[in-house]
Subunit: 176 residues, 2 copies
């Protein structure tokens, strides 16, 4: 059947450098000098792999976004030509370490909830096909401290409603 995976957090903290440059031809032959554990698969490396698998599009709808590593992943996708759209909460756009400014500076289209309510979703759709959703906000506390879950699936019955929700919220919050 279609992809179904559940990830729980907090995650162990390991080196993820290799995920950003997965092509061995452009990897340095020298081992990474950082002090973190290397070569381990964790909930966070799984999440990063799913995100970095994007070849055509990434639609991201997330209440709070301050994780530097996840910001780096989104910027990397943008640099590869992936069409990135980000929907976020108005009040949480300016939290400490928010990545939203950096995304906008890089030319990524960001919209925020324009009503008086909170946009409390935490989901992403990769290539219009792979849904990543759960309780996890894109913050370091969520990843490294909280008890959180993420569910990843390509089951159309679950993915398609989220694609529809994203498009509806995207259209509803057009600032133009």
């Amino acid at each position: 059947g279609p992809l179904k995976e559940v990830l729980f957090f907090p995650t162990a903290i390991t080196c993820v450098e290799h995920l950003y440059t997965p092509d061995p031809r452009i990897n340095s032959p020298c081992p990474c000098p950082c002090p973190l554990p290397h070569g381990l698969e964790t909930s966070f490396t799984r999440l990063l792999r799913h995100l970095l698998s994007a070849a055509a599009s990434l639609d991201l709808c997330v209440f709070a976004f301050s994780s530097q590593e996840l910001g780096r992943a989104v910027l990397l996708l943008q640099g590869r030509g992936v069409a990135v759209r980000v929907l976020t909460d108005r009040d949480y756009m300016r939290i400490t370490g928010s990545q939203i400014g950096a995304l906008r500076s890089a030319g990524i289209c960001v919209r925020h909830e324009m009503g008086a309510v909170h946009m409390h979703h935490k989901f992403a759709v990769v290539d219009g096909r792979r849904l990543i959703t759960g309780s996890l906000n894109w913050t370091l506390t969520a990843i490294q401290s909280n008890k959180e879950n993420i569910l990843v699936t390509e089951e159309p019955d679950l993915v398609l409603p989220f694609i529809g929700e994203f498009q509806q919220l995207w259209d509803a919050n057009d600032p133009a």
Copy 2:
């Protein structure tokens, strides 16, 4: 295939009285006098139906729980003899309108995260078989105002990891 359903919030506010007494033999023949719209199916009535379908057990793991309607549903299940276990966040146990005290008074076993971190999950497992999970906390604001999602599934690949997570957190937070 197994049940798969996605619900989005905020929900329309409608009468849900009929869901608590679904047996027509014990329903009053008089129509409900309340001023809310009647006879409509919404994301919230769907959520209530899934919860109230519990015949044997309800395992609930939720960061914030202050919705009176959801508290009423859990108390109703307890009264029917359903084995209810509730795991919640320590800091959010005492939010305004928290239902946790009422659940404990009714004899429901409640445990809270005992570490320094937040228990940020928002999921329930009905009868060890049906998973309800998403961004939605069990609060009136989440239900009636926020942009939120809930996913309901009986897909074993998705349900079983959550059952394992619940049991692990339940055991880890045993106050005894």
